[in-house]
C-alpha cells in the first residue's frame, strides 16, 4: 500500500516528531538559502493543483528541487479536468507516467483519500476541501517549536472561520496529539459545537478576548469567502469582533506569537499592525514550509523512513 501523507489525524506522535526533526535538519543556515541535496535524485513528483495556490505549490516545488527530484506542476485549468475527465481517470493517467508521488490539492474534502483507494502511487495531500492540510500543520508546529517552546501544555488560540478551515483541523489533530490546549474561536455559525469532540484538549468560545487571554500562540485564519455558501458577516462586523489588533496582544502571554497560514487579508481578519508586529512569525511559517515539505517528500519518496537522529 502506498505510504503517502493524507492527513495528520492518522499519524502517530512519533511519526510527526520524526518529520519535524528532519525538517529542522533541512532548515537553512542564517542568511543562506536552502541547501541542495541529491537525496531524491532520479525521483519525480507531480504537483496537481485543482485549486489555485501560490505559496503551497511553490513551496512543494522548491522542496522537491532542493532534494534533487524532478517536479512537474499542473493546475486544473490546464489539465483535462475541463474536458470532463473524471478525477480517477486523470490520476490514473498521471500515474501511468510513473512519478514517484503525486502532490494534490482539491476543493473536495476527502478527494485524495478517495483516490488513494484506487491508486498504488503515494498521494501527498496539499489541502482537501475543508478537511485537512497536513503540511501546514507540520510547518506550524515546526515554527512554534523553533521558538523554543514545547507543544505540551501550550495554549493555542485558533481564530476565524474554523468550520471551513482545513488548516484548523490539521492543527487541532497535531496539537492534540502533543497535549496542547487548543481554543477554537469564531462566530457561532463558523464554529460547530461538535468540534470539541474531534480531539482531546479542545475548547470553544465565540469571544475573542477569552480565546487570546494567556495564549502562547495566536493562529489567525483567513475568512474563506469561497467556501461559505450562505450570507456571512459584513467585513467590518467581522473585523470588529474577530479581527486581530495590537490591543489583543496585551491579553496574551508576553512572548506569544502570531501565526497565519496566508494569504492574509489585512483589515479583514488581521490588522496590518498585528501582521507586521514583532510577534508575527508569518514569514517564518513560509520558510518552514519548505523544510517541512522536504522532510515529507523524503519520507514519502525515498523509500526509507526519516529519522532525524541518524540521518545526518
Amino acid at each position: 500500500m502506498a505510504q503517502g501523507l493524507l492527513g495528520i489525524e492518522a499519524l502517530s506522535r512519533e511519526e510527526i516528531q520524526a518529520i519535524l526533526d528532519r525538517a529542522k535538519y533541512f532548515q537553512p543556515r542564517e542568511g543562506q538559502s536552502f541547501r541542495k541535496y541529491d537525496l531524491l535524485r532520479d525521483r519525480m513528483v507531480v504537483n496537481l493543483f485543482f485549486e489555485t495556490s501560490t505559496r503551497t505549490r511553490t513551496s512543494f516545488e522548491i522542496a522537491a528541487k532542493r532534494l534533487g527530484a524532478d517536479s512537474v506542476s499542473i493546475t486544473a485549468s490546464a489539465s483535462s479536468v475541463s474536458k470532463g475527465e473524471s478525477l480517477v481517470d486523470t490520476l490514473n493517467t498521471l500515474a501511468a507516467m510513473r512519478p514517484n508521488a503525486i502532490i494534490m490539492r482539491h476543493a473536495a474534502s476527502g478527494a485524495p483519500h478517495f483516490l488513494q483507494r484506487y491508486l498504488e502511487i503515494p498521494i501527498i495531500n496539499a489541502g482537501d476541501g475543508t478537511h485537512e492540510h497536513p503540511t501546514q500543520a507540520l510547518l506550524d508546529a515546526r515554527t512554534i517549536l523553533d521558538r523554543g517552546a514545547k507543544l505540551e501544555g501550550l495554549r493555542v488560540a485558533i481564530i476565524g472561520d474554523i468550520a471551513h478551515s482545513r488548516v484548523a483541523r490539521s492543527n487541532v489533530y497535531l496539537l492534540s496529539k502533543f497535549g496542547a490546549n487548543i481554543v477554537l474561536c469564531g462566530p457561532a455559525s463558523l464554529l460547530p459545537e461538535a468540534l470539541k469532540n474531534i480531539a482531546s484538549g479542545v475548547t470553544l468560545t465565540t469571544n475573542m478576548a477569552e480565546a487570546i487571554r494567556d495564549a502562547d500562540v495566536i493562529m489567525m485564519l483567513r475568512v474563506q469567502l469561497e467556501r461559505q455558501h450562505e450570507p456571512g458577516f459584513s467585513a467590518s462586523e467581522y473585523f470588529q469582533f474577530y479581527g486581530l489588533r495590537l490591543e489583543h496582544l496585551k491579553l496574551a502571554r508576553p512572548d506569544a506569537i502570531v501565526m497565519h497560514p496566508g494569504p492574509i487579508n489585512r483589515g479583514r481578519e488581521i490588522s496590518s499592525e498585528a501582521a507586521d508586529s514583532q510577534r508575527s512569525v508569518i514569514l517564518n511559517q513560509v520558510e518552514n514550509g519548505i523544510s517541512v515539505r522536504m522532510a515529507v517528500l523524503e519520507r514519502v519518496m525515498s523509500g526509507k523512513k526519516t529519522d532525524g537522529a541518524t540521518a545526518h
Binding site: S109, H113, F114, D128, H131, P192, E230
Partner: protein, 425 residues
C-alpha cells in the same frame, strides 16, 4: 390448472393471525387455503421445511430509474432484484425522466412492468408537475391509471400551501401523501449527517432538524386536511417522536424506515466512500436507536428500502460530487433480521407485518395476506441460514451498496408472484 403447494413451512400471516407450520395451497395465481397436510396430488410442490412462509413482501419505496435512467436500473432489472430480495411488490418513486407526473408516464411504467417485471409494480405519482414543488400534478388521472400514492421523493415540497392543497386533493381521492422530509434551506449543500463525524471529515452537514421541521409542518397540515400522510425513510429521533405524537392524536400519520438506517450510523461510514452516501444521511447513534425503538413501539409502520441504484461512473467520484442513494432490495430481509429479530427487539411476526400489512394498509393495497382469495404472492425466507452478499452478483444494474461482502444470518429463499416461483436462491 396451475397449482402450487408450499409444504411444511412456518406460515406467518399477521392479517389472519396465523403463525404455525402449515401448507399453502395456490391455484391459478390465488391463495386457495392454508392448512395442515393438504393433498399434494397434481400440484407442483415447494418443500418449505424449516423456512418461513409469509405473504409477499411489499417495498413501498424504490427507484427503478425507468424511464430515463435505464443505465442505472430498469423496471425489469429492478424487479429481478426485488424478487431476489424477497419482495413481490414494489412502488417506484416518480423521479424518473420524464417525471411520473401524469397518467401517460404512469401507464407506461405499468405497461413496461406488465411485460418485463417479475414482481408487481405499483407506481407512485408526483405531487407537483416535474416535482418542481409549484403546481399540482395530474394526481386524479394518475390515480386512475394505477398510481397508489403521491410523492415528490427526493425533492420535498417546500411550499406549505402547495403541500396543503396536495393533501386536500389526495384525501378526496383516497390516496396517501408521502413526503421526503428535508427542509432544503437547512440541508443545503450537505453531504452527510451534521455532527462530530461531518466536522471531522470536513464535509457539509445535513442536520437532523432539516428533517424534523418538515415532519412537524406536515403533521400539522395532515391534521388540518385530514389527509393520510406518510413520512418516507424516517431517520431522526425527533421525527420519530413526532410521528408517535401524531398517532396518539389519532391522525392518519404513518412512517417507514430503511434497513440501512437501522443498521448504520454516521460513524460507521467508511470515510469518503459514496456507498455510504444517501438521503436522509446515516444519522447519529441516538437516532438509530430511536428508529429501532420506533419500530418496536409501533411509531414506524413499515420497512422500505429506498433502493436507489446509481452506476459506478457516478458513484466513483469525490464524495461531494456523488449522487445520493444506495441499493437496498436484496439485503433488506437480512439486515432487518440482524437488527430487529436476532437481538430480540421484535418477533418474526412483527417483522412480517412491517413488510406486508404495514405497507399494504398505508397504500390501501389488497395484498399482504395469505387469506383465501388473495393474490398468491408469497415470500419464503429463512431466519437462520448464513449467506454472504456479493454485490457483483446483484440483479440490479448498479453496484452501490455498503453491504457488499457482509454475511447475514437469514434471508430470502424463494419468491412467488401470482402463484409463480419467480426467484429461488
Amino acid at each position: 390448472m396451475a397449482q402450487l403447494l408450499i409444504k411444511n413451512g412456518r406460515v406467518i400471516d399477521p392479517a389472519s393471525h396465523h403463525d404455525g407450520v402449515a401448507d399453502v395451497w395456490i391455484e391459478d395465481g390465488v391463495i386457495k387455503g392454508v392448512g395442515v397436510s393438504l393433498p399434494t396430488a397434481g400440484s407442483e410442490v415447494f418443500d418449505a421445511t424449516g423456512l418461513i412462509v409469509a405473504p409477499g413482501f411489499i417495498d413501498m419505496h424504490v427507484h427503478l430509474r425507468e424511464p430515463g435512467f435505464e443505465h442505472a436500473e430498469t423496471i425489469e432489472s429492478g424487479s429481478r432484484a426485488a424478487a431476489a430480495g424477497g419482495f413481490t411488490s414494489v412502488c417506484p418513486m416518480p423521479n424518473t425522466k420524464p417525471v411520473n407526473d401524469n397518467a401517460t408516464v404512469t401507464s407506461y411504467m405499468i405497461e413496461k412492468a406488465r411485460r418485463h417485471a417479475v414482481v408487481n409494480v405499483f407506481p407512485i405519482g408526483a405531487i407537483t408537475k416535474g416535482s418542481a414543488g409549484e403546481e399540482l400534478a395530474a394526481i386524479g388521472s394518475m390515480k386512475q391509471a394505477g398510481a397508489v400514492a403521491i410523492s415528490d421523493d427526493g425533492r420535498p415540497v417546500m411550499n406549505a400551501r402547495v403541500m396543503r392543497r396536495a393533501m386536500e386533493f389526495a384525501r378526496s381521492l383516497g390516496i396517501p401523501v408521502i413526503n421526503h422530509c428535508e427542509d432544503l434551506h437547512l440541508s443545503a449543500g450537505g453531504d452527510m449527517h451534521e455532527g462530530a463525524e461531518s466536522v471531522r471529515l470536513g464535509l457539509r452537514g445535513i442536520p437532523g432538524c432539516s428533517e424534523d421541521v418538515m415532519v412537524a409542518r406536515d403533521i400539522l397540515l395532515a391534521e388540518v386536511t385530514g389527509a393520510r400522510y406518510h413520512v418516507a425513510h424516517i431517520s431522526s429521533r425527533h421525527s420519530v417522536e413526532m410521528v408517535q405524537f401524531a398517532k396518539t392524536r389519532g391522525l392518519a400519520v404513518t412512517a417507514e424506515a430503511t434497513p440501512h438506517h437501522l443498521a448504520l450510523a454516521d460513524r460507521d461510514m467508511k470515510p469518503y466512500d459514496s456507498n455510504y452516501k444517501m438521503k436522509p444521511p446515516l444519522r447519529g447513534s441516538c437516532d438509530v436507536t430511536a428508529v429501532l425503538e420506533g419500530i418496536v413501539n409501533g411509531a414506524i409502520d413499515a420497512i422500505a428500502t429506498d433502493h436507489a441504484p446509481h452506476p459506478g461512473s457516478e458513484k466513483m467520484q469525490e464524495f461531494e460530487s456523488c449522487p445520493f442513494g444506495i441499493l437496498g432490495l436484496e439485503t433488506a430481509i437480512g439486515i432487518s433480521l440482524e437488527q430487529l429479530v436476532h437481538p430480540g427487539k421484535i418477533g418474526i411476526g412483527r417483522l412480517v407485518e412491517l413488510f406486508t400489512t404495514g405497507p399494504a394498509r398505508i397504500l390501501g393495497l389488497d395484498r399482504g395476506t395469505l387469506a383465501p382469495g388473495a393474490p398468491a404472492d408469497v415470500t419464503i425466507f429463512s431466519a437462520d441460514h448464513e449467506w454472504t452478499y456479493d454485490v457483483n452478483k446483484s440483479f440490479s444494474k448498479s453496484r452501490n451498496s455498503p453491504f457488499d461482502g457482509k454475511t447475514f444470518k437469514g434471508g430470502p429463499v424463494a419468491t412467488v408472484v401470482a402463484g409463480e416461483v419467480v426467484w429461488r436462491g
